[in-house]
């Protein structure tokens, strides 16, 4: 029998959504002079260790949560000073798009270039100051249910289990955390969120969810080239016309810039490697000129949920709520998800608090959450940008972009029709025989790099002797189907070199080797595996990247 602890609210994941939920709950409890126990579990070794985002922050939700964030020392130190948007034609040429032709949602006045990792670290301090218990290094491994089917809480994973499943000397059994309400804020494609969607059929009747993979690096650059607050976005090359995505370069503080690429996981060519696209992208003069002479500090990758309003599932179920990117509140038209994730967490906290104020025993389905969300600016914002993603999928970067300009600037997102895209990303992959292999240039070790030296900079680390957390439903599928038909796309879409097809001399065939220790917890494999055979489960707590200010 596992030990258990009782809380009013248990929150899974110390990201912007989860921590905003925690802070808002406590603020209301203090105001009402009511005792409230709130616990946040986080699989990363510390708060911020697994946080990965651009990031340009729109401070709207933060200002609502902490109007005095400036006095409290929130790490918003670099106001955006200007936007540059480029259409990349090829490896040499780029056209700067005049500001007047840019969809309004992509203007950044009043926003800040931040490190989301540092913002969550600050949010965690605020939450702890308000009395929230935060437990980094503890992974929520399992959902617990009441007999009536309502969520009862979560169980943390066992620690000290060896690869063969036996208990090591350091073995510590996981613990049950029971709550009146459990909030799931794991970020994109949370492994528990995925189970909740299926169990309660939360995504019935909405469009299929869509995803992108974001890869970025943090660089120290030549101070002479550093323009704090400059925000650069790009579309086009190196991605071909059938592949959506966009590049970014943000000038932060302390002579640092982040450079990155988002590739829509709806791409069809199995030979495409998002990592390789990103590495060659940096060789474009627009990026290279800034990076040259600088030094790469960190590297990472993370999938993002980008289906928007059309794909937004029901976010309440008996005993709990789903918030932030775990549900999919990112505003793709703005390429921003932090303020919306925070807002969804704050509305969740208000809904839960109101329920608990009426002597609620918990375990109910809080339909009031849906109503409150629909009445908030979050819904309005997502509604205005609902056509942005589908337009890009349907019409491509250029005509999709043109549509979005008209939609966002002339009609303010209020065109009287909605575009849909109901093919799941994994099903978009074409068989290798129908596609042309892509020859990527060799990394030069100065601007572009190989995967292994990159993963090294993510500081990722997993206890070596533990069960593999990348599980296969059928062990024969990777070689038979994924290698046979798709030329082993997992070796290319994984940004960490986790999946490797190697020759098996005994069987005279290929074999899939899974280097789980390299995993960056980006979840791309769980999303893009054309056979949907890979299930990402949570490894032992503290495992995964140790991102600095990412």
């Amino acid at each position: 029998m596992r030990e258990s602890m009782e809380f009013d609210v248990v929150i899974v994941g110390a990201g912007p959504a989860g921590l905003s939920t925690a802070c808002r709950l406590m603020q209301q409890a203090q105001q009402a002079e009511r005792d409230m126990s709130v616990c946040v579990v986080e699989k990363g070794s510390e708060v911020g260790a697994h946080i990965f985002s651009g990031a340009v922050l729109e401070p709207r939700a933060l200002t609502e949560l902490f109007p005095d964030w400036e006095d409290r020392g929130a790490p918003l130190n670099t106001p955006v000073i200007g936007d540059e948007i480029y259409l990349f034609q090829d490896a040499e040429r780029a056209k700067r798009i005049p500001n007047s032709f840019v969809p309004k949602s992509m203007h950044n006045e009043g926003n800040y270039v931040i490190s989301l990792g540092n913002l969550t670290r600050w949010l965690a301090e605020q939450a702890e100051g308000l009395g929230v218990e935060i437990f980094p290094g503890f992974a929520a491994a399992e959902i617990l249910y009441h007999e009536n089917g309502a969520v009862k809480g979560i169980a943390t994973g066992d620690m000290g289990v060896s690869a063969d499943g036996s208990q090591k000397g350091s073995y510590m059994e996981g613990m049950e955390l029971h709550a009146k309400y459990t909030v799931f804020s794991e970020g994109c494609r949370g492994h528990l969120g995925k189970q909740l969607l299926a169990k309660y059929a939360l995504d019935d009747g909405v469009d299929v969810q869509h995803y992108g993979i974001g890869i970025k690096e943090l660089w120290d650059i030549d101070p002479a080239k550093h323009k704090p607050g400059l925000v650069v976005h790009g579309a086009g090359w190196p991605l071909d016309k059938d592949t959506n995505g966009g590049s970014f370069l943000y000038h932060g503080e302390n002579n640092q810039v982040v450079v990155g690429l988002v590739v829509d996981l709806s791409y069809s060519n199995p030979y495409l490697g998002p990592f390789d696209e990103f590495q060659r992208m940096k060789q474009h003069p627009v990026f290279k000129n800034t990076l040259e002479g600088g030094k790469r500090v960190s590297y990472g990758a993370r999938a993002m949920t980008k289906g928007g309003l059309n794909a937004l599932p029901k976010m309440c179920f008996p005993g709990g709520l789903l918030v932030g990117c775990d549900a999919g509140t990112l505003n793709f038209a703005k390429i921003k998800g932090t303020h919306t994730a925070m807002k969804s967490g704050m509305v969740a906290a208000e809904t839960i608090f109101a329920a608990l104020q009426t002597d609620d025993e918990g375990g109910k389905e809080l339909n009031a959450f849906t109503e409150a969300l629909n009445a908030s600016w979050l819904y309005d914002e997502l509604h205005r940008s609902r056509n942005f993603g589908p337009a890009m999928h349907k019409f491509g970067t250029f005509w999709g972009g043109a549509f979005n300009y008209v939609d966002q600037n002339w009609f303010k997102g209020k065109l009287p029709f909605t575009l849909h895209d109901n093919t799941p990303d994994y099903a978009q992959l074409k068989e290798a025989s129908e596609c042309t292999p892509i020859e990527y240039p060799k990394p030069d070790g100065k601007i572009s790099f190989d995967k292994l030296s990159s993963v090294f900079l993510s500081n990722t680390n997993h206890e070596e002797d533990q069960p593999c957390h990348l599980t296969l439903k059928d062990e024969s599928v990777p070689v038979k189907r994924n290698w046979g038909l798709f030329s082993g796309p997992e070796a290319r879409f994984c940004p960490a070199g986790v999946y490797e097809f190697v020759e098996d001399p005994e069987k005279h065939d290929m074999r899939l080797q899974i280097n789980a220790q390299n995993c960056l917890h980006c979840k791309t494999c769980d999303i893009k595996d054309p056979s949907q055979n890979i299930t990402w489960v949570v490894p032992e707590g503290t495992g995964g990247p140790n991102y600095p200010n990412m």
Binding site: S45, E46, G169, S170, D220, N255
Partner: protein
């Protein structure tokens, strides 16, 4: 018997560190910090001695900035009873740390002090030895096994030629090697309890120890990047290369 166990806040050994742009120090901005792994082994050993009924109280001491409280809380969550932080924001040398610790020992009167054999940031391996000399106590360094019976400690240490067994009289200073034990995971209830355990904060300047640094760091550099190796076909080829290219034989 009371045990004093020392914990140091260091950059997490799992993360990359880099030299600051002006080559004056290691840049710790945005770097994840953690308890020194050897200190964690020291805490584990102290807690095991308490669980075995040999020690009555385990006091965790750290010397450093305010944030070192986090590492003391880690020790408390593993089972230490209370913590002391000697707060000092400036850089500290081994001798200063040993002298500050001496002041705490005079106050606390522990029968045994357990430390890590070294910290993974500076790798000096000095504090334990200096502390034993200052106190005039027996010292057992690089312990891989520790047994206490009465006032005697039987200690096995890892030395270059194998294993050496020492018998020490208490009070004594012991520094831990990697193989002494495998530290436990702190459980959730114990982490919560640790937040309520007493933690006393003292200012380093109030303890009557001269904190002036004696060592001046001139420059910090990253080591040269390692050259890639090559696989040779035969021993003869190796000998040839050692003779002609390297000139070592």
């Amino acid at each position: 018997m009371k045990i004093l166990v020392m914990v140091k806040r260091v950059s997490d050994p799992n993360v990359m560190i880099r030299v600051s742009a002006d080559n004056s120090s290691v840049d710790l901005n945005n770097v994840k910090m953690a308890i020194n792994p050897f200190c964690e082994i020291a805490v584990e050993e102290a807690v095991r001695l308490k669980e075995a009924g040999i020690a009555t109280e385990v006091v965790a001491l750290s010397i450093g900035g305010t944030q070192s409280q986090e590492q003391i809380r880690t020790a408390l969550a593993m089972g230490a009873d209370r913590g002391i932080l000697i707060e000092s924001e400036g850089p500290l040398e081994s001798l200063t740390v040993a002298k500050l610790t001496q002041k705490i020992i005079e106050e606390e009167q522990p029968g045994l002090v357990i430390l890590g054999k070294q910290s993974t940031d500076t790798d000096n391996s000095q504090t334990g030895q200096m502390l034993a000399s200052l106190m005039g106590w027996a010292q057992g360094t690089f312990a891989s096994k520790l047994e206490i019976s009465g006032e005697k400690i039987n200690l096995t240490r890892e030395v270059d030629s194998g294993l050496q067994t020492l018998s020490l009289s208490m009070p004594a200073v012991v520094t831990c090697d990697l193989r002494l034990n495998e530290p436990r995971f702190a459980s959730l209830p114990n982490i919560m309890k640790a937040k309520r355990k007493p933690l006393d904060v003292k200012a380093a300047g109030d303890l009557g120890v001269d904190l002036t640094p004696r060592i001046k760091t001139l420059m910090v550099e990253t080591p040269n990047e390692r050259q890639g190796g090559t696989v040779l076909g035969s021993v003869a080829e190796l000998v040839e290369k050692l003779k002609t290219e390297k000139g070592v034989i």
